[in-house]
Amino acid sequence: MQKSLLIDAGKCTGCLQCEMACSYENENVFNPSKSRIKVFTFHDEGRFVPYTCTQCDEAWCLQACPVDAIVVNSKTGSKDVLEDVCVGCKVCTISCPFGTINYNQDSGKVIKCDLCGGDPACASACPTEAITYVDADATGLARMREWAGKTDNTATA
C-alpha cells in the first residue's frame, strides 16, 4: 500500500518544525525559505495551513519537463527531480497548478517534495500530528486531486 502525507491544518500550531526539518534533511540548513513544505499563516484567525506537493497522478511537472529530469519513484510513488539532469528551465514551475515545484536560485535547479524517500522528515518533526504519513487511501487527498483533474485540458466526449 502506498503512503502519502496527510495534512490536518486544524492541528497545526505554526511552529515551523516541518520547514526546519525539511530544509535540514534536503538542503543541510535550518532555513524555512529552503523548505519544500510551507506553512501559510492566517493571522486574524490564528490558523496555519501546511502545504506541499500531493504527488498528484497527473504529474504536470513530469509531463512538462523537456529533459526527462522528473521521474516517478517506484517505491513511494513520489515524483522526484533528478538534480543532475534538471537544467533549470522552470517550465515545471508554471505547469504545476498547485505551485508546489519551485525554482531554487542558489542551485539553479527546481526542488519539490520527494517524501524524503519514504520517511518524510516533516511528518517525523511535527509535534501535533498535523502532518502524518499514512496509507494513501486515508488521506482525503481527493479534494486536491479533484482540483488537479479540473485543470486537465482534455475531456472525453
Partner: protein, 420 residues
C-alpha cells in the same frame, strides 16, 4: 495499425509514448531530420553555458529507450504527403505508408529580410548545429550583436554574457519580451540587463549587414548608426514548418488548421505542437502558441484520438511562459494584457526588480505577469485554468495586495475561511 509521426520534438515524442501506452501492438515511426537523438531546443541555452553536454539536451535519457518502447526513429525528411493513398514520400526517395499520421514538425527560426542576413557569421540559435557554430565564434571579448529581445533572445542572453562577450541587443519593439511581458515589466528587464553590462537598444532596427575586408561584420542600425560585430545572432522569430505541405489538402493558416481533436482537414492526419494552430484556453480562438507545455498537451490529445475513436476533446492550452533573463525570472500567463471590462492590480518594486500584475474578469483570475517571483507561481496557472471564483472577498484581498495569492488560493480550495 501503422502510426507515422513527422517530427522528433516534444510533441512527436509525447505522442509516440502515449500511442505506445494506448495500443501496445501498433507500429510507431518517428521521422526526424536532425542526426541527433530527439532533443529539447529549450535545453540549448544550458548547453551553451556548458552546464550540460549535448546528451543533457536529449528528451529521453535512458539508453535504448526508443528501441525498448518499440518506437522506430528514421532520419529523413518528408517531401510530400499523399493523403488519398495515405503515403508519405521521403527525400531519400523511399515511401512510408500510414494508417494515422501526426505532423509535429515544429517551427524554424526565421531570418528577417535584411541585406546581408545570409553572410557567414550571422546565425540563428535554434538547432544543436547552430549552438555549435555560436560556441565556436562567441569567444571572450568577441563583439556579439543579438537581433531580437523576445523569449529566445532573452534566454540565450545569459549564455552569451557568461562567455564574456561584448554584447549588444537590438529589439525593434519598445521593450524587452514584448509578446510576453507588459510595459512595466519589459522595461524592468531592460534596466536589469543594462546593469549587467549589456547594451540594449529598443525601438531599433537592423537595416543592413556588411562584411568588411578583415572578415568582421558591420551592422547598420536605423538610418545612420553602425556597429561592428564578430557574430550576429538572429532571434527575431520562428515560423511553423509547413512548406512541405504546399499543394496538399491540409489547410494551413499560419500554422496547420486543426479542430478540437487536433485533426487536420485531411482524413486520418493530425497535427500537434509548434506547427499546429490549436485552441487557446483563454480566448477560445485558434493560434500557434509554440510553447513546451502546449506541445505536450497536443501530443497527448492527438495520440488519444489517433489510437481510438474515443474522441478526446482539447479544451485549449493556456498560453504561459517562464523566462530567466540573466537571473531575473519572469512569468506570463493567459490574458496578461487584460480583458475588456476586467479589473487589474499590480505591485511594483523597481529597486528590487519585483513585480506582479493580476488580471481579473469578475472574480476570476484570467491573466498575470510576474517578475522576480519564483515561489508557488504555478498556482497562477491553476487559478486561471480552473476558472475558480475567488468571491468578492478573495478578489478584494488580491486587489489590495496581489502577493496574498497563496493565502487566497488556499482559502478558496481548502475551506479555510477568508479573514486575512
Amino acid at each position: 495499425m501503422q502510426h507515422v509521426i513527422i517530427g522528433a520534438g516534444p510533441a512527436g515524442v509525447t505522442a509516440a509514448e502515449a500511442l505506445r501506452r494506448l495500443s501496445p501492438d501498433c507500429e510507431i515511426t518517428i521521422i526526424g531530420d536532425e542526426p541527433e537523438p530527439p532533443y529539447s531546443r529549450m535545453a540549448l541555452p544550458y548547453h551553451l553555458v556548458n552546464q550540460v553536454g549535448e546528451s543533457g539536451t536529449y528528451l529521453r535519457k535512458k539508453e535504448n529507450y526508443f528501441d525498448d518502447q518499440r518506437i522506430d526513429i528514421l532520419q529523413d525528411r518528408v517531401s510530400s504527403i499523399d493523403t488519398a493513398a495515405k503515403i508519405v514520400t521521403l527525400e531519400s526517395g523511399s515511401e512510408k505508408a500510414y494508417d494515422r499520421l501526426l505532423i509535429a514538425t515544429g517551427s524554424t527560426a526565421v531570418k528577417p529580410p535584411v541585406e546581408g542576413i545570409g553572410l557567414p557569421g550571422v546565425h540563428n540559435c535554434w538547432t544543436l548545429a547552430d549552438a555549435r557554430s555560436i560556441l565556436d565564434r562567441a569567444k571572450p571579448g568577441a563583439k556579439v550583436l543579438l537581433m531580437g529581445a523576445g523569449f529566445i533572445g532573452c534566454i540565450i542572453l545569459e549564455a552569451l554574457a557568461s562567455r564574456k562577450v561584448d554584447l549588444t541587443v537590438v529589439e525593434m519593439e519598445d521593450r524587452m519580451v514584448p509578446r510576453m511581458m507588459n510595459q512595466r515589466s519589459g522595461g524592468l528587464i531592460k534596466s536589469w540587463c543594462e546593469n549587467k553590462g549589456v547594451r540594449v537598444l529598443t525601438s531599433t532596427r537592423v537595416t543592413a549587414i556588411q562584411q568588411e575586408s578583415d572578415g568582421r561584420l558591420s551592422v547598420r542600425l536605423g538610418m545612420n548608426n553602425t556597429i561592428e560585430a564578430d557574430l550576429v545572432i538572429c532571434a527575431t522569430g520562428v515560423k511553423p514548418n509547413t512548406s512541405f505541405l504546399n499543394g496538399s489538402n491540409i489547410e494551413i493558416d499560419n500554422g496547420i488548421v486543426v479542430d478540437r481533436h487536433l485533426r487536420t482537414t485531411a482524413k486520418d492526419v493530425f497535427a500537434a505542437g509548434d506547427v499546429a494552430k490549436g485552441r487557446d484556453f483563454s480566448t477560445g480562438s485558434y493560434t500557434v502558441q509554440a510553447i513546451q507545455p502546449t506541445a505536450v498537451d497536443h501530443g497527448r490529445v492527438a495520440a488519444n484520438n489517433m489510437a481510438s475513436e474515443l474522441e478526446v476533446v482539447h479544451q485549449g492550452s493556456l498560453n504561459m511562459n517562464v523566462l530567466d533573463t540573466m537571473g531575473l525570472v519572469s512569468g506570463s500567463f493567459g490574458h496578461w494584457e487584460g480583458v475588456d471590462g476586467g479589473d487589474s492590480t499590480e505591485l511594483f518594486d523597481g529597486e528590487r526588480y519585483r513585480y506582479i500584475n493580476l488580471q481579473f474578469r469578475g472574480d476570476v483570475l484570467v491573466g498575470a505577469n510576474t517578475l522576480g517571483l519564483t515561489q508557488h507561481v504555478g498556482v497562477l496557472r491553476g487559478l486561471i485554468q480552473t476558472g475558480l471564483h475567488l468571491g468578492d472577498k478573495g478578489k478584494k484581498i488580491l486587489m489590495n495586495n496581489p502577493l496574498k495569492l497563496m493565502e487566497v488560493y488556499l482559502s478558496a480550495t481548502q475551506g479555510t475561511t477568508l479573514n486575512l
